[in-house]
Each structure stands twice: as structure tokens, then as C-alpha cells.
Symmetry: C2
Subunit: 136 residues, 2 copies
Amino acid sequence: MDAENILAEHGLRNTEARHGVLDVFNKYDYALSHSDLEKELQKYFDRVTIYRTIHSFLDKGIIHKVIDDSESAKYALCADECSSDRHHDNHVHFKCAKCGNSECLNHVQIPSINVPKGYLVSESNLLIEGVCASCN
Amino acid sequence: MDAENILAEHGLRNTEARHGVLDVFNKYDYALSHSDLEKELQKYFDRVTIYRTIHSFLDKGIIHKVIDDSESAKYALCADECSSDRHHDNHVHFKCAKCGNSECLNHVQIPSINVPKGYLVSESNLLIEGVCASCN
DNA sequence: ATACTTTTGCAACTGAGTTTCATTTATGAG
DNA sequence: CTCATAAATGAAACTCAGTTGCAAAAGTAT
Ligand SMILES: [Mn+2]
Ligand SMILES: [Mn+2]
Ligand SMILES: [Zn+2]
Ligand SMILES: [Zn+2]
């Protein structure tokens, strides 16, 4: 799906900054931080605009946060039909110790876990660290 | 085990700051951030000392990092015999949406996951979000 | 084309974490 | 116990991620 349609379907105005950010996400197959985006886009857009774009994409279900022990937050495109109302990003994330990239293992589901009595689960987040297929 | 022994066993000098930080960790049953520690200890020690204490405890295997989608890092005491050489913190972490606390579910192991061909796993980190037993 | 609303740029700000260096403290040898 | 040495601490300054307020610019519907 092209950038214009993605924006329209999630109720966002079609602006150059959003288009540009989407293009960068499509260009890489691993999760990107604000500074990754800024490296490619700072000639065109202000850093605050990039932060705000990340927020609206998160909010509308265009991207999801990839939790990672690194200092700064990373984000990746949602694979399925996520929306403001509901994210279905129930897959495992993999962080490579060699290249440092974190990627979505979209086809590896997070197993359900038995928690102790009294606890209620709403969502899970699983990060696996190791060496990725490209670096191995 | 008392603070002095914990420090000695991990090859750290017995100082007031380290003793104080250990006491705060023992006082709470959930993971603490630097600012949580600072709230209790700022009258006695400099904030930089608290940062450095966290680093040496991490390094020596006295505490481990609790990964969490929150802005700042959190840490918890290691339950088993962890050391510089080896951490055995293979348990699930639980973050409560109500109270905001993250705790170690020390008795809930992270299951092993089948990753795609070509990937090598070295460690896993599982965060479950929901409502904790106290808030439920 | 116009009016209205959202988005953007810019500057200033906050908060987490780090670095440097001089001073103080813990520890082990004598 | 005293002293020498290495390690730990405090203080100030700094870096980097992320946020806020506000005026200007751009998108959208009529
Ligand atoms: Mn993902
Ligand atoms: Mn833990
Ligand atoms: Zn890799
Ligand atoms: Zn709770």
C-alpha cells in the first residue's frame, strides 16, 4: 500500500513529513529510532516534526514500539491491520548483538504464559537477543 | 544475606553509599529506577554516586536490568547466585498498568522459542503487562 | 478563493545519564 | 595501629533524548 493510502486509512492528513517518514520505514527491514529517522530526514524536516510524526503514527496504529534495552526507543511498521483502537502486534522481536539492529519476527508468536493467581495479563512483549541471520 | 557480605562476595568495597542502595532495594519488592533511589538517598549521597553504584552492582551481578517500556531504566536484585561472569535471570517481568510498578516473577521462567533458521539465541527477555495481584 | 483546523519550525526547556577532576575513604601491608 | 595506595565520592559541567509554547505555514472542505 502506498503512503497516501496508509495515511488516509488512518485518518491522517497527507503531508510531506509523514510521507517522508513512511518512506524511511519502508526502506529498512529493522526497527528505527528517532535518530535513525533524523539522519535521513533532517535536511527536509525539523526534529520536532519527526517526534510528532512518530507519536501520531503510534497513536493511529501505523507503527509500534519495539522494546529493547537500548537507550532510545525504536519503532517498526505494523504488519497487520492495526488501528488507534487496537494493535495486534503479538510477535517476537529479535536484537542482534553484532549489527545492533532489532527486527520484528512477524511469524513468531509470543506464547501465552501462566502467571500467578491474582495477576491479569493484557499484553506481552518478548525480546530475544542473539545473532541475526545476516550476521551469522 | 546482609549488605556487607553481599558486597564482599562480589568483590566490592563496603561503603556507605553501596550499603544504602542495597537497603533501598531490600525495602521494595519491585524494580527501582535511579530516581526512585535518589528520592530516598539524596540527603546522603550525590546522584552521580548512585549512578555509579547501579553500574557496579549491574556489573558484579548484584542487580539486573528490568526492561520496561518506560522512559527510565529500572533494576531489581538478582535472586540467584549471579556474578560478573554470569547472570541467571531467566524469569518473566510483570508491569502493572495501575500502580506502574514492575516486578520480577522469579518463579515464572521464560519459555524457549523457536526462531527462524539462521538465528542464534543468547538470551530472552519477557515483559508482561496487566494488573498486578495487589491492584486487582 | 476562503475560512477553519491541523501541522510545522523554531527556540527554549526538562530529565536521564556521563565525564572530568580534585578530595575523601577503604583496605591491606608493614 | 599507621601509612601508602587504589578505589570511591562529590561537585560542576556537559551530552543527548524528548517535550512544550507559540507563531507561521499548509491541508481540507465548502
Ligand atoms: Mn514488531
Ligand atoms: Mn527480574
Ligand atoms: Zn545482525
Ligand atoms: Zn499494581
